[in-house]
């Protein structure tokens, strides 16, 4: 397919494979080799570039998705050889060693400083310019973990199946929701919707998913909104985590959601990932599904047969499985404003590193308690809620947090440890929610 984009102010256009990653477009087609691949799994951020002025990881964006947009690489940052202030700071404060991930770090920080003049977390910039970035080219950003470890698997599914390049597919961009539904109908079960791509593309790169057709929803700007409808707030499915995190409306009315969105991944992920994509992907370790469960949200979907509303409690059906029918498109998330007396909230995400997926996550809104990564689907902690409703003190109610759960086991945690964490985190969340209400 023909892809045309503006790179560092110049139009670059080429006929490329639909599956070409943006990083390879930049390196192999545009000949801009500053941007390097470090991890292949959206973990490290070495490949960070600006897409329309915001940081993204170019190993997890298709060249086709970037078509028609502006990309800035570190080569476009210095003017006439004069260093950008961030580059100069790296140089004067000895913030680089081998230089391999330096372009990505510089671009991540340029983006962060544009969006948040006084950043408080993320992107290796806790103290911008003060702390040299250690030798290892520390992966300052995170994630995109598929459910399975990339390296490990049952016999016969090990590294032989790891390719870090997606299988071939056909890319189609939808310009409207109606067109997306038409395309889905045309291609049937071979097609998958692509929103930000930060859950799906990592799986495709590891060839754990190989859809024949990707229908890119990135152009559906009309599905990116946050609107106050009185008793509830409507959020377009393609609203990005970054926009939710920074929404004043959500910050005042649904602080749990705004806060949790700011905990998803890292700035690059939040610039691409969308609330609808996260919910439809149905990863039980994701942050927002559990949050929406605690908030009693309603999901709105459009399909060939028209629209319907699905209570979030009925949406998650199994491991990566939802109530969406083939071809059905999630269009909106409606979140009721908490009633007076239920305004206390807490979000407890326990991770090994700041940028990791939750080993266990807990979202509390009033008396609603939801758990992430405690089974194949995000769960409401029904036994805790019942105990609270029955008048049990929060600390006592929290002892029921693991009741009815079936947490898995991986290299981070055993099932027993996850059950223990659920009790500890629910107890802390209830204490925080109570003190804050």
């Amino acid at each position: 397919m023909k892809v045309q984009l503006a790179v560092n102010g110049s139009e670059v256009s080429a006929d490329v494979e639909d599956r070409l990653l943006l990083v390879h477009f930049l390196r192999d087609v545009a000949g801009l080799t500053a941007t390097n691949v470090g991890c292949d799994t959206t973990s490290c951020g070495a490949c960070t570039v600006l897409l329309d002025g915001e940081s993204v990881k170019s190993c997890t964006v298709l060249a086709a998705q970037a078509g028609g947009h502006e990309v800035t690489t570190v080569e476009g940052l210095a003017s006439d050889g004069e260093m950008h202030p961030v580059q100069r700071a790296f140089h004067t404060r000895h913030a680089l060693q081998c230089g391999f991930c330096t372009p990505g770090m510089v671009m991540a920080i340029v983006s962060l400083l544009r969006g948040e003049p006084a950043p408080h977390r993320g992107a290796g910039t806790r103290r911008p310019g003060r702390q040299p970035v250690p030798l290892h080219g520390l992966p300052q950003h995170r994630r995109g973990r598929p459910r399975r470890s990339a390296g490990a698997g049952p016999r016969g599914e090990g590294p032989g199946s790891v390719r870090v390049i997606p299988s071939s597919f056909t890319y189609r961009r939808a310009d409207s929701a109606a067109e997306a539904l038409d395309l889905a109908a045309e291609y049937g079960e071979d097609a998958k919707y692509l929103a930000g791509g930060h859950s799906l593309l990592p799986l495709m790169k590891l060839r754990l998913a190989a859809p024949g057709v990707l229908i890119d929803l990135g152009g559906l700007r009309d599905l990116s909104y946050i609107t106050d409808h009185g008793p509830h707030i409507a959020i377009g499915a393609l609203t990005r985590h970054h926009d939710i995190e920074h929404s004043e409306l959500l910050g005042s009315q649904l602080p749990l959601l705004a806060h949790a969105a700011g905990q998803v991944g890292d700035p690059q992920v939040r610039h691409r990932g969308t609330i609808g994509g996260s919910v439809a992907h149905a990863d039980p370790a994701s942050d927002l599904p559990a949050v929406l469960l605690a908030l009693d949200a309603t999901l709105v979907a459009s399909g060939p047969g028209g629209g319907r509303e699905i209570p979030v409690a009925e949406f998650f059906r199994g491991f990566f499985e939802t109530a969406l029918e083939p071809g059905e498109l999630l269009t909106e998330i409606r979140v009721p404003k908490p009633a007076p007396g239920s305004r206390g909230w807490s979000f407890q995400k326990f991770t090994q590193r700041a940028i990791d997926w939750a080993i266990v996550g807990v979202a509390v809104q009033g008396g609603n308690v939801a758990l992430g990564n405690m089974g194949p689907v995000p769960l409401r902690a029904a036994a805790v809620e019942a105990a609270l409703a029955g008048g049990a003190p929060p600390a006592e109610a929290a002892m029921h947090a693991a009741d009815g759960t079936s947490p898995g086991l991986d290299i981070r945690a055993s099932s027993g440890y996850r059950e223990h964490l659920a009790r500890v985190l629910v107890s802390r969340a209830l204490a925080q929610a109570t003190s804050g209400s």
């Binding site: 500053a34 004067t92 991930c101 080219g137 490990a152 055993s414 440890y417």
Partner: protein, 792 residues
Amino acid sequence: MTATEQHGAPAAFGPMRRKEDARFVRGRGSYVDDIVLPGMLHGAVLRSPHAHARITSIDTAAAEAHPKVKAVITGQTLAGLNLAWMPTLSNDTQAVLATDKVRFQGQEVAFVVAEDRYSARDALELIEVDYEALPAVVDARRALDADAPVIRDDVDGRTDNHIFDWETGAAARTEEVFRDAEVTVAEDILYPRVHPAPLETCGAVADFDKVTGKLTVWETTQAPHAHRTLYAIVAGLPEHKIRVISPDIGGGFGGKVGIYPGYVCAVVGSIVTGKPVKWVEDRSENLMSTAFARDFHMRGEVAASRDGRIRAVRVSVLADHGAFNGTAQPTKYPAGFFGVFTGSYDLEAADCKVTGVYTNKAPGGVAYACSFRITEAVYLVERMVDVLAYRLGMDPAELRMRNLLRPDQFPYSSQTGWVYDSGDYQRQLALAMELAGYQELRAEQRERRERGELMGIGVSFFTEAVGAGPRKHMDILGLGMADGADLQMHPTGKAVLRISVQTQGQGHETTFAQIVANELGIPADDVEVVHGDTDSTPFGLGTYGSRSTPVSGAATAVVARKVRERARIVASAMLEVSPDDLEWDGARWFVRGDPDQGKTIPEIAFAAHSSLELPDGVEGHLDAQTVYNPPSLTYPSGAYICVVEVDPGTGGVKLRRLVAVDDCGVRINPMIVEGQVHGGLADGVGMALMQVIAFDSDGNCLGGSFMDYLLPTAMECPSWELGETVTPSPHHPIGAKGVGESATVGSPPAVVNAVIDALRPYGVRHADMPLTPAQIWRTIQGRPFRTDLAIT
């Protein structure tokens, strides 16, 4: 924050900003994957999904039929060229592409050459390999069981998985001390398998020119000259027709010392297709197949007096070397420099036995920022000192202070035969304690323990032996560990220094220019440092084991002094005095007693190229060469103090502070030294708290991506607090000792000691790294995990 003591460093030494940054911050570095040649093809490696299996058939027909595939190479192809196996750095053999069996998950089985990188990877899926799975040896502690499957049945007569036994120290004498000691302690301690994981994976571009017979290979290598010689020996190519270029390297950490099958496949691919071939591995390939580090299962014992005098240390080690013994170390040292396990203490006796075994895991055992197993040795002894302190009820800093070597004991011959060059250990530890506010921290800890909070303070003191090494004792595959340096002086006084070592981020282009500048009194900006190309640099063994400054830095100082002496002769002709009447003032040769009469190096350099009449026998020009054979190793040391808080609910660790007082001798560029320390501290935090390459019972690697193999980020690292003492190495020309690995060596025991100290209210004396939240939770319950195996 830096606490600086006096160090009398010469004028050209100091925190000069790095020359290499000019290209790196603009993205103008040139790494192997940036190399593009006309007609270049792309290679990809098919790897084994099994840890141990017999290959019954390989069918490449479908892959060969792929329209963009140019060649498919298998072990059979290579066997026909006598290249199916290659020597390892430990003189074992390693399969380039498997012919008989696969022996670890991720082992190389076939190589596809195609028109682009995507097609090459697509074609891997078209290769059909039939495997007959075999039981895998996963647990090193079972490798020598009578019924363990024999991994290396390619070697005639081999009936077990035993590689070597090695012993150092004095067993009988040590046993005597243990027998009459008032107190003895013992502990099983694992230094788990970790991986260097440089952000740039390994790769090569090979270009064989059939007309000239010349092979040019761009490689991610820390040792380009050694690679050239090995290619000549392995492939039978004439050495003068091989050019190895190591361009900008995106981190090495020891992982880019050896030759990997992918490099050899790229070379063969280029010979077969007649085109340049690029091969760059992905992250999973890097973590699963390239050289690991550590994997030492140790039992440590200490004998002491009741009042805290450490008398003897005894260690037995089971070393897991993976499927091929590829450990990087000098030939006479199968366990590297593990002999420094006696630490920084004056002992009466010491003894150590190491047994190496094969397992169905990736080969390696590289000097991952450890100078040949020193990391393991330091971790063992520093953990054991804390175990002893626990037993004696003594403060661990006080116990160390009581036993550290005194300045008057240097040079000190250890019980295992290592001659420590210099140090002022008590002063160093005292400075670290002062910076940390040690007594105040202990007071805070007492208060917080009363409130039920878990706060820990960890101390470590280490001595490294780096700068390998004297060629009489040290070689790798027969190549002595000396390094050359050439210094060319242009007529206008600008210099070009050519060195054999290879920077991977250490800043050689700046530091080595400063060494020349210091010796010749010219600006460091006037010195260009050339490295990484075997066609334009002198022979040497490369950069690892903190050897660049101790060996190549010494060569640089020596060659600059040769230039200076040549300049003296020319200056004497210019000033019409005897050379004996000239004195050097740091920037000029001047006439003794008449300081106004003098010549700078640029003035002399021009004269050396001019028609000035020179004394008989003087050739003109100032250029010089040298080869530096280090007389001994250098012994950097460090005193580290770590403060942590442990969440008793979750087991999570918050790293609050890490104080590092390093003594690496004279500091050439303190800014770069501190950068090296910062990186090493972060590395050590990763090992102590989050990193491990573990395996499940089938031999599946559980650390095959950065989603599972965790590197600490700035969010997990405190603002490092550094200090320094300077005891110059007496035998190094500029008194420098090397620092590249110090913090990686010293920080893991400091962090682990802090966490274990925090867990003292639970009666915890030891738990193995990595101290993940899950491991801490289990440790609190008295049943820690085997961290080298899958969690159950």
